[in-house]
Amino acid sequence: MAKYKVVVEQEEFLIEFSENRVQVNGEVIEQPSLASLNGNGLYLLQQGGEKQEVHIQHQQRSAYQITIGGHHLTAEIERDRGNRRATGSLRTAGEITAPMPAVMVDLLVIEGDAIQAGQTVLVLEAMKMQMKISSPVDGIVNRILKTPGQRVEKGEVLLKIDMG
C-alpha cells in the first residue's frame, strides 16, 4: 500500500493505492490507468470510462507542471509514509507564492494576523499592472518573507499561513 499527498493549485488530495483499489480523499474510485504516449511527458489517463490526455513535466524536486485540456496546473507530490514529520519539503496550501516576477508594493497583514480565505493580503505590481493577492485558506499569518519594495521571482514564497 502506498499513500501520496498531492497539492494541485493549492488544493490538497490524498491518494492511496492498495492491492486492488485506489482511493482519492478516502473515496474508492474505479481502477485508473496511465500510459505513456511519447516518452516526452504525454500520457493517457483512463478512468471510469473516460480518456484524457495529460502532459506531465517535472520541474524540480517534488514540483511538476500538469496540462489537461486547456488547463495548465502546478502540482507537488510527496509520498505520505504516515510520519507527520516527513512532510517538510512539500509546499502546502498554507503558502502564498508569487505568480510571476513582480515587485511587492503593499503588504496588508502582519505576522499573527488571523485571515480568511479570499482576503487580500498583499499587492504585487508587474508590467504596470497591480494585482491583489488573496489568501487561499483561513488561518494565522505565520511568517512574512518579503517586504514592500522588494522584487520577487515567480514561484517564490511570500508568506506562510498556519492553518491550525
Partner: protein, 499 residues
C-alpha cells in the same frame, strides 16, 4: 518586390506566409530576444534591429529603415501594434524610397488624432456621438464645460486607440480626478496628454467594418465583425458576420464605413469601428488604419486573403476584386489565446512552452508563432496566437470551436484557454445576447466554472505516474520501442494500441 516585415509573433508569421505564396521574398526583423523566434526563422532573410526592449528594436525607426536598406527591401509591412499606426514611421519608409504597405501617412495622422477623425467622419455624414470637440488639458476648464453633459461620460485620449487610455466618469464630482488620471496615462502611453469626453453608451455592441481601398477612388466593404466580448476594452472573441443585425442596419453600417473610406480616398486595409446601441442607433468610434488581429474571421467568410490583397495592391496599385465579388459565406469565430492567469485578474504569465498541440480539422485555423521550447517573456504582448473556425452557420461554427478548444493544449505557461471555452459555452454567447460589458459582469462565474474538476484529475495522474515509477521502475515510462531510433510507423502503431 521584396517585403520587410516590421513586426514579430503570429502576425509576422502570417505576413511572411502571404509573401511566400505570392512569390515575394521576405525579410524579418528581430530583437536579440527573438533570435530563435518563428518569424525570424521563417522569413527568407532576417536582420537584428536591437535589444529585447521594443522601443530599442521593433519600434526603432532608424534601425528598421537601415535594415530595409541593407536587405534591399522594396516595401515595408508594419503588421499591427508597434509602428503600424505611427505616421512618422510611414513617412520615414516613404522618404527612404520604399512603399509603406498601409494607408498614406496623412490618413494615419488624421485617424490617429481622435478629434480630427471624429470631425472627418461627421463631415462625411457618419453618425458621431454628441460630444465636446475640445482638447481638454486642464481639469477646471473641463468641469465648466461638462456641467451641461449627461453622466456617465467617457474620458478618452486624443491620441489613443485600441481601447487604451479610456476611463469612465460617473459624476461631475469625480470628473476632475478622472480627467487628471486619464491625461497622465495618455501622456505616458501615447506621448500626448490631451483628452476629450463623450457620452457612455450603455449596453452597446462593438461592430466594425473591414474596408479595402486602392487609394484611387475605389473602396470595397468586406463585411463586418462583431467584437463585443471584451475584457477591459480588449477584444477576446470576434466573429463575422455580426449575429442578429437586420439587413437594413447591416447595409446602413456598411454604407457609413464606405462613405468614410471614400472621404479619405482610403488606401489599403482599414477598420471602421462603431458602437451599436440597443435601439439600433450606431455611432462612429474610430478607424484602425492597419491589418487587425481579428482579420482572419473576415477572410474565412469572404474567402479573400486580406494580407495578399495588401501586398498585391502595393505591387500593382490596383485591387484584384470588385464589390460584386464580395460575398459572405457561413460564419467564423476567433478567440485570442493569451498567456495569462484568469484567476489572478488576468495577469500575464511567463515561462517556456514544453508541449504544444494545436487543433486541426476542417474549418479550423490556428495563427500562432508558438513552438515547443519557446520562451514567453514579459518583453512583448502576451498574445500567443489565435484560433479561428469557420462553419456553415453560426451554430456550426460554435460547435466546431468548442471541439477545437478541447484539442488545444499548451504546456509551460498558463493561458486563457479554459476561460475561452467557458465563454463559448455560455448561454449568452450561444444566443448572441451580449454587449461590451458582458464579460465584466460574467467574469467571476466564468472563471469559477473554468476551474472545473481538473485539479483532482491532475492529482490522480501525477500520483499514478510516481506510483508506477516507484513500483516498476524498469517498465515505465519508456518502453523499449522508444529507445530505438524514432520510427513514425512504430510510434503510430504503438499509440493506436494504447488508444
Amino acid at each position: 518586390m521584396k517585403i520587410l516585415v516590421a513586426n514579430r509573433g503570429e502576425i509576422a508569421v502570417r505576413i511572411i506566409r502571404a509573401c511566400r505564396e505570392l512569390g515575394l521574398p521576405s525579410v524579418a526583423i528581430y530583437s536579440e530576444a527573438d533570435r530563435s523566434a518563428r518569424h525570424t526563422r521563417l522569413a527568407d532573410e532576417s536582420v537584428c534591429v536591437g535589444p529585447a526592449k521594443a522601443s530599442d528594436s521593433y519600434m526603432n525607426i532608424p534601425a528598421i529603415i537601415k535594415a530595409a536598406r541593407t536587405s534591399g527591401a522594396d516595401a515595408v509591412h508594419p503588421g499591427y501594434g508597434f509602428l503600424s499606426e505611427n505616421e512618422a514611421f510611414a513617412r520615414a519608409v516613404e522618404a527612404a524610397g520604399l512603399a509603406f504597405i498601409g494607408p498614406r501617412p496623412e490618413t494615419i495622422y488624421r485617424m490617429g488624432n481622435k478629434l480630427i477623425a471624429r470631425q472627418v467622419a461627421e463631415d462625411a455624414g457618419l453618425p458621431v456621438l454628441k460630444s465636446l470637440n475640445l482638447e481638454l488639458t486642464q481639469a477646471e476648464h473641463a468641469l465648466a464645460v461638462c456641467r451641461e453633459m449627461k453622466f456617465p461620460l467617457l474620458v478618452k485620449a486624443v491620441s489613443g486607440g485600441g481601447g487604451r487610455g479610456i476611463r469612465e466618469a460617473h459624476s461631475l464630482a469625480e470628473l476632475e480626478q478622472v480627467i487628471c488620471a486619464a491625461s497622465e496615462e495618455a501622456a505616458a502611453v501615447f506621448g500626448n496628454h490631451s483628452v476629450y469626453v463623450e457620452p457612455l453608451v450603455r449596453s452597446a455592441r462593438h461592430i466594425e467594418v473591414q474596408i479595402l481601398g486602392d487609394g484611387n477612388g475605389t473602396v470595397l466593404v468586406l463585411g463586418e465583425r462583431e467584437c463585443s466580448i471584451q475584457r477591459r476594452r480588449q477584444k477576446l472573441v470576434e466573429e463575422a458576420p455580426a449575429p442578429g443585425l437586420s439587413d437594413e442596419l447591416r447595409s446602413a453600417i456598411h454604407h457609413a464605413a464606405w462613405q468614410l473610406g471614400m472621404a479619405l480616398n482610403y488606401r489599403s486595409l482599414g477598420t471602421v469601428e462603431f458602437l451599436l446601441d440597443p435601439s439600433g442607433n450606431f455611432f462612429f468610434i474610430e478607424v484602425n488604419p492597419r491589418i487587425q488581429v481579428e482579420h482572419p474571421v473576415t477572410e474565412m467568410v469572404t474567402g479573400i486573403d486580406l494580407v495578399a490583397a495588401q501586398l498585391r495592391l502595393a505591387q500593382s496599385g490596383t485591387l484584384a476584386y470588385q464589390q460584386a465579388d464580395v460575398h459572405i459565406n457561413g460564419s467564423a469565430i476567433e478567440v485570442r489565446v493569451i498567456a495569462e492567469v484568469p484567476e489572478l485578474g488576468f495577469i500575464p504569465d511567463t515561462g517556456t512552452i514544453t508541449e504544444l498541440a494545436e487543433p486541426q480539422g476542417p474549418g479550423v485555423r490556428v495563427d500562432s508563432a508558438m513552438f515547443v521550447g519557446m520562451e514567453v517573456t514579459s518583453d512583448y504582448d502576451s498574445l500567443l496566437g489565435k484560433l479561428i473556425v469557420w462553419g456553415e452557420t453560426r451554430a456550426a461554427a460554435v460547435r466546431r470551436i468548442k471541439g477545437a478548444l478541447r484539442e488545444f493544449r499548451i504546456s509551460g505557461v498558463k493561458t486563457d484557454l479554459p476561460f475561452l471555452a467557458q465563454i463559448i459555452q455560455s448561454d449568452c454567447f450561444l444566443d448572441a445576447d451580449f454587449d461590451t460589458t458582458y464579460l465584466d459582469q460574467a467574469q467571476p462565474a466564468l472563471i469559477e466554472a473554468a476551474r472545473g474538476s481538473h485539479n483532482r484529475t491532475a492529482a490522480l495522474a501525477l500520483a499514478l505516474l510516481i506510483h508506477q515509477q516507484q513500483t516498476i521502475p524498469q517498465a515505465q515510462p519508456a518502453p523499449a520501442v522508444f529507445q530505438q531510433a524514432v520510427n513514425p510507423w512504430r510510434m503510430a502503431a504503438l499509440q493506436e494500441q494504447v488508444l
